[in-house]
Symmetry: C2
């Protein structure tokens, strides 16, 4: 849901300057007024005035700063207000999840409910998710965090303008309008709840909180993100932004064709990556049955640890085909790094070497070994990305909170 | 070679306004001063003053305009000056070519020399190309066209900042510095000769003079361009601009992996598209030998016309694997259209149906049949793109010609 920006009392130039200050804080975590002035090119007087407005609006607060290697008394730093936050919510094929992300990027509450949503109707799933979202909101309130907006992320193509889930083959859902449901997740919130694709959100979480984050050395600003779930989702990050493509649906790496004689896929195609590297495909190849993904994953990890030949071959096959897709994607887009999340991260010890061998075979020299990274964010990645988008949306419209 | 813009006497705002006028003329071919004012948002007085400067600089000229459905006396139109132009030059695996493109987008001179450059050293090839370029310059002079700049396009990765051919596997050239050679192609020209990748230039030619051009209805502003040569080159056009990728080397569609068990490629990888759809691969699969590409192509077309089974199967196999690559590329980038040039365009009657079947198999519904187009520009496409880039470069620096 997108509210149109209200003109308010704040002029265009001041809006831009507010954005400069907040972008500086998002990148650096904390900064003194002097540092904000130096980075933004604004005068110290301007920065002080803007910060005063942002403190009044509850978006930032003061904190004491001591920095290594600097002399003199500790300065007064500015940080984003940890008492403001956004709701993150996720519907996935075999779980529902909610979380509370505060403005400093900390996940302060997180709840997951394992559940087979593929067999369920949207209404049924949303009834559960609304209950979970209410618990998250209660937890936020108990922790003194005001939720200003939120994000719901789903494993499928979304129309973010009209709040429609266009198609989620692994859920069996298509053409589901979600405006009313989004509103129910966080009733009365100032900035509403926005809809996003799960892999795209996880890719952004990696950018903001993982391998793309400043405190990790800003290593990756151009990378391919692949998330192993029941299927395989993806996101293409170029110049530290999600590359959405001309119609907003770029990054469908799970449906790149990695073997022209491969099996039929839920997307209607054949030989897609997710038929070799998705969780279901790996469990199938490893001969691991069972009802619950958690149990199957535990079984797989046990088998791998024991050196079981079939399990090892299944994961190595996934790594091999991941290499085919990454080689093709890097040839096409010139993106020189790859980050693997979701179940790929859990399988790193077995998947990593197979992926590296595959890349050396299909695109030697294209992606240096050091540019292959595994996500450390684990399961909450996607909802952290969805909530993080909401935080950025709120901060981008900070002028609406300045009276 | 890039000269740094000189500050000159023209201020920033006027530079921007000059660019507005010239962009309008590039898009529409011709326009009256009133139309240019309406499109640019400038006053008629400003437009008249800018046009006067551009006429003095020799970049535009007046022409009489009559428009269907408009009453009154014919207006005076403004067109880009057909007596100004750029040199286009191309080194390819089995030919050299030069051409003269005037500012209105007409190819006024074109010469091709069939030749195996794979076995040649760069110096030897450039000696020939410089001679050809001189003939093109003479032809331009004879036609009263002043060449202000030029573009050289090559089948490999290029570093346009340093004028280096990084790698052209099908030529067997790597790490070749070309600054001096570029200068020799058009000695003393005002804006120099720039270096480009052949498939990228052909993709831009398609945008400016082919399926992306306004007079074709502006159908495609987002498309994948694939050029069949000895290898397979590509370009990704997004929002009517070439998508270069974070390091300038995007669009290597010929080296996307279309069969993981496919043969070794010149790039060092395996199963690349060009091992199935490049000219050499098709001739090999069709059992057509011979020394000359022209003779082999004629042989292939004769065999196809006669319904020869092996030739037909070879081209259908190429179409099949083109479908695999296009499906994967469209999934990843969300680009909804594809334009096929080079020898793919020549093979359209046999290649088209196979490609459509393949896309229906691998990515049903993703690319509508109407969004699969074959280039009509034929062989000069790449050098038209290279020369067209030079024309745009000159027009973008028009202020340097205004004294």
């Amino acid at each position: 849901m997108r509210a149109t920006p209200s003109p308010g009392r704040v002029g265009d130039v001041r809006r831009q300057n507010l954005a400069l200050i907040l972008t500086g804080l998002l990148s650096n975590g904390q900064a003194t007024r002097a540092q904000l002035a130096a980075e933004s090119g604004l005068t110290k007087a301007s920065v002080s005035s803007l910060v005063a407005d942002l403190i009044d609006a509850g978006l930032v607060q003061e904190s004491s700063v001591t920095r290594d290697g600097e002399r003199g008394r500790p300065g007064t730093g500015i940080i984003l207000n940890p008492a403001r936050g956004a709701l993150g919510a996720e519907i996935n094929v075999d779980y529902l999840a909610v979380g509370v992300l505060d403005f400093t990027g900390q996940l302060r509450f997180h709840e997951t409910l394992e559940r087979h949503n593929r067999a369920s109707r949207p209404g049924e799933v949303f009834t559960l998710l609304v209950t979970m979202a209410r618990r998250a909101a209660d937890a936020a309130q108990a922790a003194g965090i005001e939720l200003l907006g939120g994000g719901l992320t789903v494993p499928g193509l979304v129309d973010t303008e009209r709040d429609v889930l266009i198609n989620a083959p692994n859920l069996g859902w298509a053409g589901v309008g979600l405006s009313a449901e989004l509103q129910k997740l966080l009733p009365g919130s100032r900035f509403g709840v926005t809809l996003s694709n799960e892999a795209n959100s996880a890719a952004l979480a990696e950018l903001w909180f993982g391998h793309g984050a400043m405190f990790h050395g800003a290593r990756f600003k151009d990378y391919l993100y692949l998330s192993g779930e029941v299927g395989v989702g993806g996101g293409l990050v170029i110049g530290s932004e999600l590359f959405a493509g001309p119609h907003g649906h770029a990054g469908e790496i799970g449906h790149m064709v990695v073997h022209p004689d491969g099996p039929r896929c839920t997307c209607g195609g054949h030989g897609c990556l997710e038929k070799f590297a998705g969780q279901h495909a790996i469990f199938l190849a490893a001969g691991i049955g069972g009802e619950s993904t958690v149990a199957q994953t535990a079984h797989l990890l046990r088998s791998l640890a024991e050196g079981n030949v079939r399990a090892t071959a299944a994961v190595e096959q996934a790594g091999h085909y991941l290499g085919v897709a990454v080689a093709s994607a890097a040839r096409l887009t010139n993106v020189p790094a790859v980050v693997l999340g979701g179940h790929f991260a859990v399988l790193e010890p077995w998947l990593g070497p197979a992926l590296r061998r595959s890349l050396a075979n299909y695109a030697p020299g294209l992606i240096p070994d050091g540019n292959i990274a595994f996500s450390r964010l684990r399961e909450p990645a996607a909802l952290m990305g969805a909530a993080g988008s909401s935080v950025r949306n709120v901060l981008g419209r900070s002028y609406e909170l300045i009276s």
